[in-house]
Symmetry: D2
Subunit: 339 residues, 4 copies
């Protein structure tokens, strides 16, 4: 009697999230019922009453969920939490609501570190200049170069991404300050981190790392007045969501030379061909490439299977992240198209 898993990964595909041998184990160890092209409402109406787990992120109105008498967990493999199901019902019924988002933390962290060093040392422009035959050598080409070792590194937002980024910076001995209104000061203090106001982070940091989620409160929270508070020449690295900043103000601050920035996210993606960001100086562009590595996507399957195994043994999940009943409604997630 293998546990029943309703499998409905769209918009992701099996081939993206499972290595073949992992998928085989998944199918061997569980009774996997895949939705495929079947109508979603029909599929869930038919199968929810006997399902132990869902792997997917279907629209599940409360009335459907109430039929899910065996359901123990839902693993969201899109990695976000859209407002398409009754999360509170799940919490009340001890149904774990899980997301695979931790698979993206390490790739995002490495890109954040890479972009920071790319800014500090102007790696993309130096390369482009070389290709074009106009490179400068040595000191001449290093007029704005800076070292990162022992710099002040300020975080705006400090969730899982922030922690992964901080670990990646470990070899560069940063002095760290954190602004995150959702985090407990006591927690940060115990970890030896400096709790700071938003202004303190902006005013004292050599590198400002933005990994804040978008909430109902913080859209456009970083505007011209904020960039004006940054140290001249400081680096600004935007890794979470473009909506957190006033994008034009950020481009202005780069254009003026006051700051140098790198961004992996944009107000619209793809960005308009004539968008000024494409020609703004002191700006490194990365087209939403932080997390979506083949290896990270395969880890979705790995973590999903690992947690299904644990739960099937009566243990709590340990590889995916759990939704919090206090927060699940506060973060404005977007559907995944390209990531």
């Amino acid at each position: 009697m293998k546990p029943i898993v309703l499998y409905d990964p769209s918009p992701r595909t099996t081939q993206d999230i499972f290595q073949p041998h992992v998928y085989k184990n998944f199918c061997d160890e569980f009774n996997v019922v895949e939705r495929g092209n079947e109508d979603s409402s029909n599929f869930y109406t038919a199968h929810l009453p006997t399902a132990d787990y869902i792997v997917g992120q279907p629209s599940l109105p409360t009335e459907l969920l109430t039929s899910a008498k065996q359901l123990k967990a839902l693993v969201n493999v899109e990695s976000n939490f859209l407002q398409n199901m009754d999360y509170q019902y799940c919490f009340r019924n001890q149904i774990h609501v899980l997301t695979v988002s931790p698979v993206f933390a390490q790739p995002v962290a490495e890109l954040a570190l890479g972009l920071t060093l790319a800014l500090a040392r102007d790696i993309p422009k130096a390369h482009c200049d070389f290709v074009e035959g106009c490179e400068g050598y040595g000191l001449e080409a290093n007029q704005n170069a800076m070292t990162i070792n022992r710099c002040n590194l300020g975080f705006i937002g400090f969730g899982d991404l922030g922690r992964a980024i901080l670990k990646a910076f470990d070899g560069l001995n940063p002095s760290v300050s954190v602004f995150d209104p959702w985090l407990s000061s006591e927690l940060l203090h115990r970890e030896g981190l400096q709790v700071a106001s938003l202004d303190e982070v902006l005013q004292t940091s050599d590198v400002v790392m933005v990994v804040a989620s978008v909430t109902e409160d913080n859209a456009g929270m970083l505007g011209a007045t904020h960039f004006a508070k940054m140290k001249p020449g400081a680096l600004f690295v935007l890794m979470s969501r473009a909506e957190v900043v006033d994008f034009d103000a950020m481009l202005d601050a780069c254009h003026s030379g006051r700051i140098r920035a790198a961004t992996d996210v944009f107000p619209t993606e793809p960005l308009a061909q004539d968008h000024r960001a494409r020609t703004t100086p002191n700006l490194i562009l990365s087209a939403h490439r932080a997390g979506a590595l083949e290896s990270a996507l395969f880890e979705i399957g790995d973590r999903t299977l690992a947690d299904l195994r644990l739960m099937a043994k009566g243990l709590p999940p340990q590889n995916c992240k759990r939704a919090e009943h206090e927060l699940v409604g506060k973060v404005r997630s977007k559907p995944v198209d390209k990531s």
Copy 2:
């Protein structure tokens, strides 16, 4: 009675290596006799007999040195050891022969880390594509992307630069192997590093980091047969001297797509405008920009003054690096023009 320092920093300049307040302290605390435009031979003939220290890297034949009865140290601020003086005479007379090369270790390490991540995530090309309006988003643009965390990192050469680079990688948890015929296996083992042959480094590393000095033995030591041994898709980062590799063979290996490489050094600098390296794919170019940061050059003055102060108190120097009588003749240094 302040100690007498003969000061002759050329090809470096005071303005490059001393911040004004440090230079002021230097002149206040020591009797600084600057050569300026005076003929070198005349200058040293006149002043060596009473000099306590030299800051510079003059040609000093043995007969001149023998007159230096008070000399306690020579600080080479060019940061190399050309064969232009009788080093063995210095060693025999307990004259410290020092170089400021450690000032470059941290900037080089950060660029080495930055170039590694730039390769792993194709940061320069992704930026250039974005500027040109042909960027791909997300997974589509990450076909060759890889994470560095827990990778096999192999060093070819492991002196001060290698150590600084390893520290910079600390947040990425590498498994490290080292090939360096000048280093004691026992030393590396005590530090938890894997001692490896050259072939082992090439065959097992995800990232090959080249920081070997050029000696009489190793010119062109890395050729086509060596690149053929590397793991497909592995990264090759050349930070020390172009002479260590067969540069064409490296470009071939990039061109074929077998490896991806980044280099900060070139067979000739500036590189010919029509050199094929400029258009070789899978190659990131950096024009000898690793060490020559303004902050690093200022650290030359800082370390020089710090060690002069220690020696004036009868203590050994601790901020500059000492020449080794066994090695000083083995490394083929080049004069600094641009760095």
Copy 3:
């Protein structure tokens, strides 16, 4: 309208767990209703309907809990989970069930490290011998001494205590293996830890660290056959609960000289005056002193207040540990008397 907190810390006391200024803040920011000597059933019957939080660990049968319509969290300040309330009811009603047990992790970790080094270097006996005038000097007194650096450190159980201990060992570069049937192999692998069977841990470790909780399955799990598998002269450090081992078998293994052990826990506490453990050689004795430091107890108040504040702002608790619905019934906790 301050949130209502039912405050019933017994067997702990306000003076033990709150520094005065923290207690003052607690009372200022919350409407604290203390049980004092009032009959528990009467107290909770009267106050549960309007309570927002409970700080304490009362017996709460289901019928009482159903009246707690406002209840958002219960903070267990005894730090265990006795079977005296309907935890599942809490989970179903999104009432956080929290424990302050994390306050003990750091003190326990430091004692675990201290006892390991005390065993490795025979610190207590060396001191006692000196007091008694029979000390040996130098090598003569170091016949069984060993270094811990780069040793094999094996964990039996690897929860919060294990993690804190591992961090404390960070300066000693251990090679770590973990046996913990409740933990996901994937999780441990991602952290670079070696997943091992119980036998592998016993056979390969220079230091065996026992931090497993007592469950229905593992009472007496480590017996004579297990000690026989350990490396001769290996160290055994028992930090969690005496019930995990066959205590007599452990004493036999110490007595024979096969292993050296340290224990902070005993089958009965206080231990009988004539218990053989008191005179067993190769054994260091610590009378349940690992966690109960004044500073740790004060941290109970700090973390409790910090989490109440977060929850009052609509945020999830971050300083106390949450009960897991899968595990809360599996661990056999004991009431706190002395700790």
Copy 4:
């Protein structure tokens, strides 16, 4: 033609410093001429002219040394530098003067950490009380217990031992200050350490770690006025030499309860049976047991052979420590009897 090594390890013995297979390699790879019981003067007169290396620490007056035309290095396996030879002659003739003292750094560091934790948690007394049947349990027994995590750790002296100790403390996240008049502030700053005066170290540290060598200047440097400056209840750990402190003043400070101390060294060894240190409270006693572990002594042979091999290949030694011409006369070493 194997290089000739004069081998004269007394007061150490071959069996103490060489594992058999290492000794075999030593004899296979080098022409080992052992002094044995031969008269020292005769031995060196006969063999110095053809010797490449000396392993030992003989009395070598200048006139004997001048005959040593081939000599490239002397490896002092006693690990100190007595004033029994013309060191300056060696320096002038590029003869490396090496000591095996680094073999003791790790064992000393681990004991220093162990003693610190033993003090912080009163491990020896807790054990003795248990043996004697008068143990207290839990909080009752922890009245003076403290945690070390994130404490202020102050070093008096910061040579190789200090560095090894700091690494061993890595898992306890200390804030570090250093008083060492022989060290460059710039060096310490680059490593992120706080440079402090002696008074600052005493006044601000929770743990004072003494690893200063004895020089002509610092005998008895830490007296009653210094202990009076320490924080009440702070820990004082003496690892280098008893001569650095006014031992009676230290015992007074322990007796009064102002500080708690641990010491591995004593004004005379063995200490008089009726010395008050034996009964001073708040004091942990260790009979010069820090370095002399069997494994450390064997490492003497390992490092000696490793460096002989390097030098025989024309490379500088890397495993032993080199004498500095500025310092070799300043440290007051003692002959090894028991260590």
